[in-house]
């Protein structure tokens, strides 16, 4: 037990020192480095990579290392708060040498001699093979290859998929978000909400909202490509979705933006999949509807302020919801009927927006049925 504790302590110290090294590697401080320093730095990285391979399946050591890294991050103020991200989790140790190499390679402050030595170390040439694991040279070559492949696909074959949840860029971001949520959840129970809050503050909001929507639509049991080493710890990604739903429900400002910014069809899908969101969504739609009044001259429903949701958009969203499978569709219709009743249950247009919406939805459905050659009068809407 004593020997184990000693090993753990030395490993953790090593980890700390390497994290410092990584942080320094992108600063001008490296101008003081000579070839020997470069060599040592790379050796440290190689050692940690070896640790990663060796103890990947060893629960206690892996957990201890991971906890240390999570602590570091917390001190830095959360993921991505620093100018350059450090090591986020145990997995990152698997390519800490690549991370270090890239920073040094891009750092203009590195002296000529040190740089020359770096390049020799990174790219020794053919014939250098490691029986056990991939050499750093191979890892870097693979990174370059993948980068080019992404470049090729992105700028030549890619077209943004109108169904956001099938768009490859969106899906990837969603997968990353869910992965991070899982990790953050592991560290402490209450962190996820704070984490999401900090992301909301820092990141471009429109994109973030889309990613959340796509994350909420991801299939329940997909395997993350990165989670290869430790199948046991892997939680179901469904939990990430739950965290997101919870957070949305607890943040009315965010949820309002969510419902405003995203297209009707996408929201319908999300709400169908996560019924907890439907009452709040419907509530929002009702609020928006109540802000509109009837303009007698123009014969349309208009808002008073510029940020009011216009009639078309409102109608769009309700129309989309009415095409959802039950029980959502039924809930929506019930809600509309209730609002109409509360307003006075008018049948004549122009008096209650809810009457008019229901009329519009029914006639739209009627027209659709005519086009499809179905008999009229049998629809529930």
């Amino acid at each position: 037990a004593g020997a184990f504790a000693h090993l753990m302590e030395s490993l953790l110290q090593h980890l700390d020192r390497f994290s410092e090294l990584l942080a320094v590697s992108s600063t001008t401080y490296v101008s003081t480095w000579d070839p020997a320093t470069v060599r040592r730095a790379l050796q440290w990285a190689r050692y940690l990579r070896h640790i990663h391979r060796r103890f990947g399946r060893h629960g206690p050591i892996r957990t201890a290392l991971e906890r240390r890294l999570h602590n570091q991050w917390r001190q830095e103020g959360g993921f991505g708060r620093g100018p350059v991200p450090g090591l986020a989790n145990f997995q990152a140790l698997g390519h800490c040498d690549v991370l270090l190499s890239l920073r040094l390679l891009e750092n203009r402050a590195l002296g000529d001699a040190a740089r020359y030595h770096l390049v020799q170390q990174l790219f020794p040439g053919p014939g250098v093979r490691d029986a056990d694991e991939e050499t750093l040279q191979e890892s870097l070559a693979r990174l370059a290859r993948r980068r080019s492949a992404v470049h090729m696909l992105r700028f030549n074959g890619y077209r943004e998929n109108p169904n956001l949840q099938e768009d490859s860029l969106m899906k990837t971001q969603a997968e990353l978000l869910l992965e991070r949520l899982q990790e953050v959840g592991k560290a402490e129970a209450e962190r996820p909400a704070r984490f999401l809050g900090s992301l909301w503050e820092r990141l471009p909001q429109n994109n973030f909202l889309k990613v959340i929507a796509v994350a909420l639509l991801q299939p329940p049991l997909s395997r993350r490509p990165q989670e290869e080493l430790e199948p046991g710890i892997h939680k179901s990604p469904g939990e990430g979705s739950q965290v997101l739903v919870h957070w949305l429900l607890g943040n009315s400002e965010v949820f309002a933006a969510f419902c405003r910014a995203l297209p009707a069809g996408l929201l319908t899908l999300v709400t169908s999949r996560h019924p907890a969101l439907s009452p709040v969504y419907l509530g929002l739609l009702t609020d928006w509807g109540q802000r509109l009044h009837y303009d007698l001259q123009k014969g349309i429903w208009v808002g008073t302020e510029s940020q009011d949701v216009p009639w078309e958009e409102l109608h769009n969203r309700f129309q989309s919801l009415c095409q959802a499978p039950p029980p959502l569709k039924d809930k929506v219709l019930t809600a509309l009927e209730t609002c109409k009743a509360q307003d006075g249950d008018f049948e004549v247009p122009g008096l209650s927006i809810w009457t008019d919406l229901l009329l519009a939805l029914r006639s739209g459905a009627f027209r659709k049925r005519q086009v499809l050659g179905l008999s009229a009068g049998l629809s529930s809407v």
């Binding site: 991050w73 993921f79 991505g80 991200p85 986020a88 390519h95 991370l99 890239l102 390679l105 891009e106 203009r108 000529d112 001699a113 740089r115 020359y116 390049v119 020799q120 790219f123 040439g125 053919p126 040279q137 870097l140 070559a141 990174l143 370059a144 290859r145 993948r146 980068r147 080019s148 492949a149 992404v150 470049h151 090729m152 696909l153 992105r154 700028f155 030549n156 074959g157 890619y158 077209r159 998929n161 099938e166 490859s168 860029l169 899906k171 990837t172 971001q173 990353l176 978000l177 991070r180 992301l199 990141l203 471009p204 429109n206 994109n207 973030f208 990613v211 993350r224 490509p225 990165q226």
Partner: protein, 503 residues
């Protein structure tokens, strides 16, 4: 050595020119050209590296003054960088240019420039700003998310290609990506869902407007490239398995059987066209049957003189019967596998009834057995024997009727024993129905009573569909085998047309 050097200089000029034309490979033409040459270019790079590593930086510049340009152009072409080991070799070449101790500003600048290129090769792509901010914001580096991103992009591309391939090319798409056959096969071999989706698409067609029109199904099957791909035994087995499942799920639906027959025919054609290299032993395609049986079935009736068809059918019957009734050999899967194999070959399977009707002689037991087996594979020995007896009786009556001068629908109805006290099970009913239909098409007076008989027969929508399927299949088969009988064909077409208006 000197010769190598000369060769290298020539190659150098050639590739320099190529790279200038390709630039960043942003047009379809430059991309295609790059892809065609990318392997050769890598070989050139290797040779370059071998030469460069022997020199020091200054010598390199002396010998190849424009080397910087050449390497840079290559590094800005993502198709080159993405290929195999080219990025590695390019990096090695660049490293040969680095000055260990730069003596002047020129050399320093060169070092700096090389650093820039190396960084470029390895740096993060300038994505949409929002995506970059997002990934960074989550603390991810490209090395973390490139694998996942690539996977998603490739899956997306694969499904788009599949759609393009199956639906024909939509001219609204910005770029038309057409894959050669070998690439499609590669895709299907590596990514089972793509193959499965292609097959599901085929099944969808079956239940849609293409239902009961074998000519269109044949076109669709040929366009799908599935038959050629199926020359690859692995693909054939997957396709066959899906057909098998479809049959079991639909309890032997005639449409599925017909489709399997069309598919097999296209497959055999493709197999013949395929190069000798691709020929695999029959056993790899049909592992559950005896090679002799497979070989007989694979023969095209067209390649055998018509007079010998009866003989071939008898032979097939014997082999099948042996496989089905022989319990000791334990043929894998039992009767179902034998039946499943047999139904692949519509040329023979659908011929049995015709042959029985055409011969005036005593119907051969082997053919009776084959017919009963075709329509009732699950029957036990006794039941099959019973069916054979019933069929023989019907044939006898039909023969007698064909000799009489006038035919009546009622008589035919009686012969069939429909709606009377004889208790016929569904498979036998179907069999007898098809016998009658065959009779109507071939008998000299058939056309006079055909419509009446069919009206009596088709008392459910299901049976109507079955008759439509039968007529369509018969016409299709006659057309393919070159069976010419204008009167029969005309009758069949008329009946088909009329029936189609009713459903």
């Amino acid at each position: 050595m000197a010769q190598d050097s000369v060769d290298l200089s020539c190659d150098y000029q050639f590739w320099m020119q190529k790279l200038s034309v390709w630039d960043q490979a942003s047009t379809l033409e430059t991309q295609q050209d790059t892809c065609l040459h990318v392997a050769q270019f890598q070989e050139f790079l290797r040779k370059m590296y071998e030469a460069l590593k022997e020199m020091d930086s200054n010598t390199v510049i002396e010998r190849f003054p424009t080397i910087g340009q050449l390497l840079a152009k290559a590094c800005w072409n993502p198709f080159i960088l993405a290929y195999d080991e080219s990025q590695k070799i390019l990096i090695w070449c660049l490293c040969c240019l680095i000055n260990k101790e730069p003596q002047n500003s020129g050399q320093s600048k060169l070092n700096s420039w090389i650093q820039g290129v190396l960084s470029h090769i390895l740096s993060a792509l300038r994505f949409d700003k929002e995506v970059a901010l997002f990934t960074q914001g989550l603390g991810y580096a490209p090395i973390d998310y490139y694998p996942g991103l690539l996977k998603n992009m490739v899956l997306s591309l694969a499904s788009e290609l599949r759609e393009n391939h199956l639906n024909g090319f939509n001219t609204q798409r910005r770029k038309k990506i057409s894959l050669p056959m070998s690439a499609v096969v590669c895709l299907w071999l590596r990514h089972l869902p793509s193959l499965e989706k292609a097959m599901l698409h085929l099944f969808e067609k079956l239940i849609s407007s293409e239902r009961n029109c074998l000519r269109r199904i044949e076109c669709f099957i040929k366009d799908s490239s599935l038959p050629q791909a199926a020359c690859h035994p692995a693909i054939f087995r997957v396709v066959d398995e899906m057909f098998r499942c479809a049959l079991l799920e639909t309890d032997g639906a005639l449409e599925i059987i017909a489709t399997i027959q069309v598919f097999t025919q296209c497959f055999v054609e493709a197999l013949e066209k395929a190069s000798k290299q691709l020929r695999f032993a029959l056993k790899t395609y049909f592992p559950y049957t005896s090679p002799s049986l497979a070989m007989v079935l694979l023969q095209d009736p067209q390649d055998i003189p018509r007079g010998h068809w009866l003989q071939t059918l008898k032979h097939i019957s014997e082999l099948l019967r042996e496989a089905v009734e022989d319990q000791t050999h334990g043929s894998c899967g039992g009767p179902f596998e034998s039946w499943f194999l047999f139904i692949h070959f519509g040329g023979w399977a659908e011929m049995v009834a015709e042959q029985l009707l055409m011969s005036a002689a005593e119907p051969p037991t082997a053919l009776l057995w084959l017919l009963a087996f075709y329509y009732g594979p699950r029957d036990g020995r006794q039941q099959r024997a019973q069916t054979m007896v019933q069929v023989k009786a019907v044939l006898g009556h039909l023969l007698a009727m064909s000799r009489s001068s006038s035919l009546s629908a009622q008589d035919l109805q009686t012969v069939a024993g429909q709606g009377t006290d004889t208790d016929l099970r569904a498979p036998a009913q179907q069999l007898i129905r098809h016998l009658l239909l065959n009779f109507l098409l071939w008998a000299p007076g058939g056309h006079t009573i055909a419509w009446d008989v069919i009206t009596l027969m088709a008392h459910t929508a299901e049976i109507t569909h079955e008759i439509i399927g039968f007529l369509d299949q018969t016409l299709y088969r006659w057309n393919r085998l070159g069976i010419e009988s204008p009167r029969s064909e005309k009758l069949a077409r008329e009946l088909l047309k009329e029936l189609r208006t009713q459903v």
